[in-house]
């Protein structure tokens, strides 16, 4: 243990303290502040849990989480199985397509689906034109639409985790069941699936937490009675009403606490149950089977179906971007570059800002991530595990909590938020664990807790694939 390492670690801790712990503690402190006074108390929380409105909001969010998890699981299990086990052509391209939603911003999906599935969207108009339906069907606005959009966005996490699980299981586990007389489906239910639970759970926890984080999709779809949306509306629209603002902050804190606890429970459970450690792999590619012709057709159709929905996003957005007044018609009729002209002429600053802030955030990220990875993996500085822990926790932290925390913390006392540098700093803080994770040496990543990061690691792969 050298002096340099201690100084380096102390410096990293300082950064973490100032850019993460401090704003979050301010957030927590504000949530306890009683309106109109300087005193503290738990009255905000009491009110939150007494008010049927907020309780219903919490219930709604939980319900949405369950629906999203259920949907992603029902669609994800066969998808992962097909991708991991079946020998078929175009595996790479299908994998890339199905994982595509993570590369796309969450809101891109909503816009595209509104255009396609909306009340006077392409699908409804097509159906009406063919005379199949009289009045438009509400495909998208409402809870079902929300479940659909969020599920599609989170589907890759389930698929990645599970297909890694399916691939990594030692084939002899299933062969033993085969010899013992278990039929294909029964074997899948009793052996394969249970053995995959750790890798499934790693993805599932992120899926379940997404509705606690995503406020924009519900708002666009007109579903505002969900925890993150309520928090956002309370804080962003009612800045004059101090009481509502505090309630919003309370909602943020509750969402954040919920996310972190669930994340930790999942991590603890995965570590306890790591089955993979028991098997000694015999083949590297796992069990690959040649499905029967009927099954194969079904699998292809299913893959194509999912791929089609995913591809709708860029296609519809592209069509819409190059057209004008695309309303009441299934396909655009008037093509134009007007939209791009407007963007480039009137607001090139947006693009410039985007690049500038993200680029700076990346610089901060690398500057922090490299030494952090070094300290945690290679040195024996005391407290390095705590550092690892805090950084990892940020994975589960809702972005809205970081935003609000920054807004509160860096306005009055430390007026950092008055300068534009706050933007890249916030982006950096928000994605802290990513820089850190990606820069970890391989040896270190092979640790037990890597189970939970598996989806993240696969993410990088998928991103590269999707550019193919």
């Amino acid at each position: 243990m050298s002096r340099g390492n201690i100084i380096l670690a102390a410096f990293l801790w300082l950064i973490v303290a100032f850019f993460i712990l401090y704003p979050l503690s301010i957030l927590l402190q504000e949530s306890f502040t009683i309106t109109g006074t300087d005193s503290w108390g738990i009255s905000n929380y009491l009110e939150f849990f007494k008010d049927t409105y907020y309780l219903r909001v919490l219930g709604n969010t939980l319900l949405l989480s369950m629906f999203v998890l259920l949907t992603t699981t029902v669609f994800g299990v066969p998808l992962a199985y097909i991708l991991a086990r079946y020998r078929h052509r175009g595996k790479t391209i299908f994998t890339a397509l199905i994982l595509l939603p993570i590369v796309l911003p969450a809101f891109a999906g909503v816009f595209a689906f509104i255009i396609f599935f909306g009340k006077y969207g392409t699908l409804n108009l097509l159906l009406m034109n063919t005379g199949l339906i009289e009045t438009p069907i509400n495909f998208i606005y409402g809870l079902h639409g929300l479940v659909f959009v969020q599920s599609l966005h989170m589907l890759p996490f389930i698929v990645l985790g599970l297909s890694a699980g399916f691939t990594n299981i030692d084939p002899s586990f299933e062969e033993a069941a085969e010899v013992e007389g278990a039929s294909g489906f029964w074997r899948f239910i009793t052996i394969t699936l249970p053995l995959c639970t750790p890798s499934y759970l790693a993805g599932a926890v992120l899926v379940f937490l997404w509705p606690f984080t995503d406020w924009l999709t519900p708002m666009i779809l007109g579903q505002t009675n969900l925890l993150p949306s309520v928090a956002y509306i309370n804080i962003a629209y009612h800045f004059t009403d101090m009481h509502r603002k505090y309630m919003g902050i309370v909602a943020v804190v509750i969402a954040a606490v919920f996310c972190i606890s669930l994340f930790l429970v999942a991590r603890w459970w995965v570590e306890k149950k790591k089955y993979t450690g028991l098997s000694k792999g015999t083949t590297s590619e796992g069990r690959v089977i040649e499905p029967g012709p009927l099954l194969k057709m079904g699998a292809y159709a299913y893959l194509l179906f999912i791929a089609f929905i995913v591809l709708l996003i860029p296609i519809v957005l592209g069509l819409s971007a190059f057209s004008r007044r695309w309303v009441f018609e299934p396909f655009p009729t008037y093509w134009t570059l007007e939209n791009f002209r407007l963007i480039l002429l009137e607001s090139p600053i947006l693009i410039k800002n985007s690049f500038l802030y993200s680029g700076l955030a990346l610089v901060f990220g690398v500057a922090f991530g490299l030494p952090a990875a070094y300290i945690i993996a290679r040195s024996r500085v005391p407290g390095k595990d705590a550092l690892d822990f805090v950084i990892t926790l940020m994975l589960a932290f809702p972005g809205i909590a970081v935003g609000v925390g920054y807004m509160l913390a860096f306005w009055d006392k430390i007026p950092l938020a008055r300068y534009w540098i706050i933007m890249p700093l916030a982006l950096f803080a928000r994605r802290l664990p990513w820089t850190f994770l990606l820069r970890r040496p391989r040896k270190y990543r092979a640790r037990a807790d890597s189970e939970l990061f598996l989806p993240y690691r696969c993410l990088c792969c998928s991103r590269a694939c999707s550019s193919a």
Partner: protein
């Protein structure tokens, strides 16, 4: 009457031939070992018997019933139990459920399942551990769980794929005898796969030595050790001195030949395969280290007497081990403690023609 008949079995993986048209009979109640280096096709043969691989050609008959020629018989319908190399004990199930899994799939009453499972757990020495999870057991105990699971349905055939390779040395030696006595007690026909020749010799009634997809020799441990079919078998089973040479003289007697080697013009050997021993043929004169006789003074024998210098001397407990240089050829010898010679000293070697084999 063979209980398992393998006829002309061929299995390819892509272009690589894993099992090359082999024929093999396993007698009822016998414990037969497939022995060979990794990649020799032994595991593939076993998996073909189990039905986990579908061979391209040939047939497998178990207890008079064809597994392939009249339609593929599913592994579970072949009446066999299998123990996998990594045990394949399901980590998410308790020991009891692991063992009872196959029974529960049959339509039998819960009570019988309960009784039968307890019975088998006792048989393998796991009584009282049924409620544990596999992760709470030692490697040896997990091995027993795998064994119990394979035995619970009263199989006609037990297949074991390197079942001991993941255990530590001491435990492995005990388990060899345990598995053998258990299988013998139950009277099951067993096929055992291993790359460990000592294990094969302890556990099996007969050994089939395999090399690159072929069965090179089948026989009891003694037959394979004493009369190896070729250099590969002799080298794989035990230690052997090989001295390459050329046959110089047609056999004078019925079963002896003279071989010219690098260290001597004439080494007299006995051989069974007189017909193949034509002059000019390249062969290996082979003798086991324990058959090499070492003397301080020249003995009375007339033939196969050589002088050599001790290069290395090792003390191996019950005997000494010498590496002796005979005109540039290194010969290993296992000798009693009574021999006082040290490294660098000269000794006399007698290679008994009766014990010198000619191998190809």
């Amino acid at each position: 009457m063979a209980f398992i008949e393998i006829k002309n079995l061929l299995k390819r993986f892509k272009k690589v031939v894993a099992v090359n048209h082999i024929d093999l009979d396993v007698i009822e109640g016998e414990m037969l070992t497939l022995l060979g280096p990794s990649g020799c096709g032994k595991t593939t043969t076993l998996r073909c018997i189990a039905g986990l691989e579908t061979p391209e050609e040939g047939d497998i008959v178990i207890d008079g019933k064809s597994m392939l020629s009249e339609g593929f018989i599913h592994p579970s319908q072949r009446g066999l139990g299998m123990v996998f190399q990594n045990y394949a004990v399901w980590p998410h199930m308790k020991v009891f459920n692991n063992v009872a899994y196959g029974l529960k799939l049959q339509k039998i009453s819960r009570k019988i399942v309960q009784e039968r499972t307890q019975e088998v757990l006792e048989l393998v020495g796991l009584e009282g551990l049924g409620e544990r999870y596999p992760s709470q057991l030692s490697g040896g105990q997990q091995q027993r769980v795998a064994l119990a699971r394979a035995l619970v349905r009263n199989p006609k055939v037990l297949l074991l794929d390197e079942p001991l390779s993941n255990l530590d040395a001491k435990l492995r030696e005990n388990m060899r005898f345990e598995i053998k006595s258990l299988v013998k007690r139950m009277g099951i026909t067993a096929v055992y796969v291993t790359h460990d020749q000592a294990e094969a010799m302890v556990i099996s009634d007969r050994i089939a030595v395999m090399n690159s997809g072929d069965i090179v020799q089948i026989g009891t441990a003694r037959e394979i050790y004493k009369q190896p079919a070729n250099k590969f078998v002799a080298d794989f089973i035990g230690t052997m001195n090989f001295m390459s040479g050329e046959i110089v003289q047609s056999p004078r007697d019925v079963d002896a030949v003279c071989v010219r080697t690098e260290f001597s013009e004439k080494v007299l050997c006995t051989t069974d395969s007189v017909t193949e021993a034509t002059p000019g043929k390249k062969v290996y004169v082979s003798i086991r280290p324990e058959d090499v006789e070492v003397f301080t003074e020249p003995p009375q024998a007339r033939e196969n007497l050589f002088k050599g210098v001790i290069v290395h001397k090792a003390y191996l407990g019950n005997f000494l081990y010498f590496f002796i240089n005979v005109n540039g050829t290194m010969i290993q010898a296992q000798v009693p403690h009574s021999l006082p010679q040290d490294e660098g000293q000269e000794v006399h070697l007698f290679l008994d023609p009766q014990k010198c084999m000619v191998l190809f």
